[in-house]
């Protein structure tokens, strides 16, 4: 059995990998790559050649292509000793047009062009854009560079190889003193007096590898990090997974105990300290605060992470759905063909038939009328703002639960063992609770792990309509802003969750019903 589920997991991983490759193929091959600048402010500000240069720099940063500028090439020549600094200084600036190049420059430009053309690169030379015969237009400076598009396969491989990063004590290349991990029971971040275990590393990328704090899920680790791709416009420069899991909202300042012994009111979250080579020497503030180069910290924010809001709302809604849907489904089955059943069926039909957008808006309208907040605000959090999202999710999900529970109960009610139990003289209550429900609940249990796990992914429409700052909106936001790395990352996240929940669902079902076996031999 373990063998079977292990194979399922492996096949699931392959499926996710293939799916992610297909998505990447769609996004990076079919989609015009200039679309990513649709929401980019910096792009709008730049003009002429400067804009083109910016585009290529960004494309290189986000893995679209490999870019070599003429100056990079000259620097390389200097490094390898083929060129001296004087000559480099003379030839570094190319003419406004190829005709205006000096002979020396011409020679090296030709060399550059030949070298990179032979390697498959496309060499682009942008002539200066003139505003008047003697004045170069804004951002119109000439430039010369070579670019080579990265094959999608390389990108796919790159995505998977950089998916998991393991922190180790040899991460830091510079001399950092004695490398190693220290375990402490009294976390220095809390002043060193409060009991709070932590593992602190030296030589690792993160300073704190394991620590406790008051943020969900309370215990945090930095040994293994999930990297899903860097965002371009949704949350610029930040990894997708970090975008999902980091806290949001306004900064919270509190007494911070810096490693140097300085105690100061600040919003720095020292637990997030990462290594930044030579940063302490460069910055006077860092010299006051830190005793080493682990200075790169993020700030403590007031509100929870996206994943937290999605999860909390979905999980409460799911609990309510089961708590309401199962009894109602049973009731409908018990009172089959009476007005109770008909009313329940009408409700189920309404929820199936009506577009969810319509009823989400309807509930929003009703909630507004009743004076319940329909907008999720991070500035003034209150319990009431959870009310509508939870209620609406429950109302829409409960119909499905009712439908299936009724179906399973009715199927079991007509089975021979139920008739036999009745003939034996068992009370209806006993038949329902001890026999029918037990069997009808088996298919229901299959969905429970999935419900819990998929709660992490939130709900796209609900979160958008009630402005919940959750994970669900991320995909839509990324699609709207053409943020391809985020789309790929989120899709991978969803895919992995669905694979895990399907396997866990099968395991739960086989635990609940010992008759179910997944191996051919036992059948």
């Amino acid at each position: 059995m373990v063998n079977y589920f292990f194979r399922r997991l492996l096949r699931g991983c392959v499926s996710v990998a293939v799916a992610v490759s297909i998505i990447m193929l769609l996004l990076f091959v079919l989609l015009d790559k200039t679309l990513i600048f649709a929401e980019d402010e910096q792009y709008q500000k730049l003009a002429n050649n400067q804009r083109t240069n910016y585009m290529y720099t960004v494309w290189e940063k986000y893995g679209y292509l490999d870019l070599v500028s003429y100056n990079d090439y000259l620097n390389e020549l200097v490094a390898s000793g083929e060129l001296d600094e004087d000559l480099k200084a003379r030839i570094a600036t190319i003419g406004r047009t190829p005709e205006k190049d000096s002979d020396e420059v011409k020679k090296y430009v030709q060399q550059f062009t030949d070298y990179y053309s032979s390697q498959g690169y496309t060499v682009t030379r942008l002539d200066a854009v003139m505003a008047s015969p003697n004045r170069v237009a804004n951002g119109g400076g000439q430039s010369l560079f070579a670019s080579l598009n990265t094959p999608t396969l390389t990108r796919v491989v790159g995505f998977f190889t950089s998916l998991l990063t393991f922190d180790n004590i040899h991460y830091v290349e510079e001399d950092i003193g004695e490398r190693g991990l220290t375990f402490t029971l009294y976390d220095p971040v809390y002043g060193g007096e409060k009991f709070s275990p932590a593992i602190i590393g030296n030589g690792t990328f993160h300073k704190y590898l394991l620590y406790f704090d008051d943020k969900f899920p309370f215990i945090h680790q930095n040994f293994v990090k999930l990297t899903l791709g860097t965002s371009f416009s949704v949350n610029k420069g930040v990894d997708v997974f970090q975008t999902m899991t980091q806290s949001q909202g306004a900064y919270v300042q509190s007494m911070t105990y810096y490693p140097s012994g300085l105690n100061e009111i600040s919003a720095d979250d020292l637990h997030t300290a990462t290594y930044s080579a030579g940063s302490r020497e460069m910055n006077l503030v860092y010299q006051d605060r830190y005793s080493d180069d682990y200075t790169n910290v993020s700030l403590v924010k007031k509100s929870h992470s996206k994943i937290y809001y999605s999860f909390i709302i979905s999980i409460i809604a799911s609990c309510l759905t089961y708590a309401l849907g199962l009894p109602l489904g049973i009731l409908m089955a018990k009172k089959k063909d009476t007005w109770v059943d008909n009313l329940g069926n009408a409700y189920v039909i309404f929820m199936i038939a009506v577009p969810s957008l319509s009823y989400f808006f309807m509930f929003k309208a009703i909630a507004t009328k009743l004076g319940i907040p329909t907008v999720f605000s991070l500035e003034n959090p209150s319990i009431a703002m959870y009310f509508t999202p939870v209620l609406v999710s429950t109302i829409s999900a409960v119909s499905g639960q009712m439908k299936w529970m009724r179906r399973y109960m009715v199927d079991q009610m007509n089975s021979d063992y139920a008739k036999f139990a009745r003939a034996e003289g068992l009370s209806e209550f006993e038949i329902f609770t001890k026999h029918i429900f037990k069997n009808a609940a088996i298919p229901i249990t299959h969905g429970i792990p999935g419900t819990i796990i998929m709660a992490l992914s939130g709900s796209i429409m609900m979160e958008n309509i009630y402005t919940v700052p959750g994970v669900g909106g991320l995909l839509v936001q990324a699609i709207g802003a053409y943020d391809n790395s985020v789309i790929v990352g989120v899709a991978f996240f969803y895919g992995a969750l669905s694979i895990i929940s399907s396997i866990l669902g099968d395991i739960t079902m086989s635990i609940m019903d010992p008759r179910i076996s997944y191996t051919a031999k036992a059948r």
């Binding site: 079919l30 039909i349 199936i352 038939a353 009506v354 577009p355 319509s358 808006f361 958008n464």
Partner: protein, 328 residues
């Protein structure tokens, strides 16, 4: 006490015993015939469907809905900007609109933000939405049923298709549709293509499961032993079982497609034409202004009504299509 049976008096016929009781030769062709009342599948479907009052009402309403969707726009062409210059024509309640323009069906739901008649706008949008839904459902189910049947029957296809399904089910459906809409221009064709490209696989998969359940039943084994071809088994023995299942799925699929379209237009990936989703979506802005609620509730409720009617007719047909309900 047994009652004495009266025999028929044959003496009056004037026939001899030999004439009355002659041996009839055995008719070998009649042996194979089973005498049963004449049965026509589609007539029985119609009979069962029309025997329920709810079905008749739903069907009548469906005719009305379809007439308004496809025939009504021929007489009153919808132009969103016909009253654009008339400032007094905007955001009117039904009463105010009727007072201004005189009584006409067009004005019974008031006017919208550009002074357009909401009633006309809804039917204009419904035309595209329902067309998308019907077209997508037709394509998805044609492909889904054919592939599903093959998938269920052929073991080798099963292995390959299961893997394909594993891959496709991992990708969120919203993503596939949105990437398609982003890649190609957001037009009617693109949307239908995007909604069909992966839509058929879930249909094929559920059909495959049903086929596998019924495929190895005793009556099919017996049929196979008697030499019936696989094609005959598929179309004559199994398909009748599947029809109610397929029709029920089709019933949920049409409102489902309308919902998907509404969702896509909500997240900004809808098509440029006027659709139900777009109308509902723009209408929500009216909700915040007191006195404009009509603009919101009319399209929302009417779109809900259209979906429910389509669903009810489909569900009724699904019940009626099940041969087990045809017994008198």
């Amino acid at each position: 006490m047994a009652e004495k049976k009266t025999c028929i008096d044959l003496s009056g016929t004037g026939l001899t015993d030999e004439e009355l009781f002659a041996r009839v030769p055995q008719d070998t062709s009649a042996v194979e015939k089973i005498v049963a009342p004449r049965y026509s599948y589609w007539r029985s479907v119609g009979r069962v469907f029309l025997s329920k009052r709810l079905n008749v009402i739903a069907l009548a309403l469906l005719v009305v809905v379809l007439a308004f969707t496809y025939i009504y726009p021929m007489f009153y062409t919808y132009d969103k900007f016909e009253n654009l210059m008339d400032a007094a024509a905007k955001h009117l309640t039904p009463a105010a609109a009727i007072q201004k323009f005189g009584f006409h069906l067009r004005w019974i739901f008031g006017t919208g933000e550009s002074g357009q008649p909401t009633f006309d706008a809804i039917w204009n949008g419904a035309r595209i939405s329902i067309s998308i839904a019907i077209l997508c459902t037709a394509i998805n189910y044609t492909v889904g049923v054919v592939v599903g049947a093959l998938w269920g029957f052929a073991k080798r296809v099963d292995v390959v298709m299961n893997e394909i399904r594993n891959v496709i089910s991992v990708v969120p459906g919203t993503l596939v549709t949105s990437v398609m809409v982003l890649t190609f221009s957001p037009s009617f064709k693109t949307l239908v293509f995007a909604m069909c490209i992966t839509g058929w696989i879930s249909i094929a998969y559920s059909l495959r499961t049903q086929v596998i359940i019924i495929r190895d039943r005793e009556y099919n084994l017996a049929s196979k032993c008697l030499g019936t071809s696989t094609f005959h088994i598929a179309t004559r023995n199994i398909l009748p079982y599947m029809i109610s299942f397929i029709v029920t799925m089709v019933a949920t699929s049409i409102p489902g497609c309308i919902g998907t379209e509404a969702f896509l237009s909500y997240i900004g990936l809808g098509i440029s034409e006027n659709t139900l989703g777009k109308i509902v979506n723009t209408a929500q802005g009216a909700l915040t202004v007191p006195g404009w609620e009509w603009e919101f509730w009319c399209p929302v409720l009417l779109s809900a009504f259209i979906s429910i009617i389509l669903f009810l007719v489909g569900q009724g047909l699904g019940d009626a299509a099940d041969p087990r309900t045809h017994m008198l």
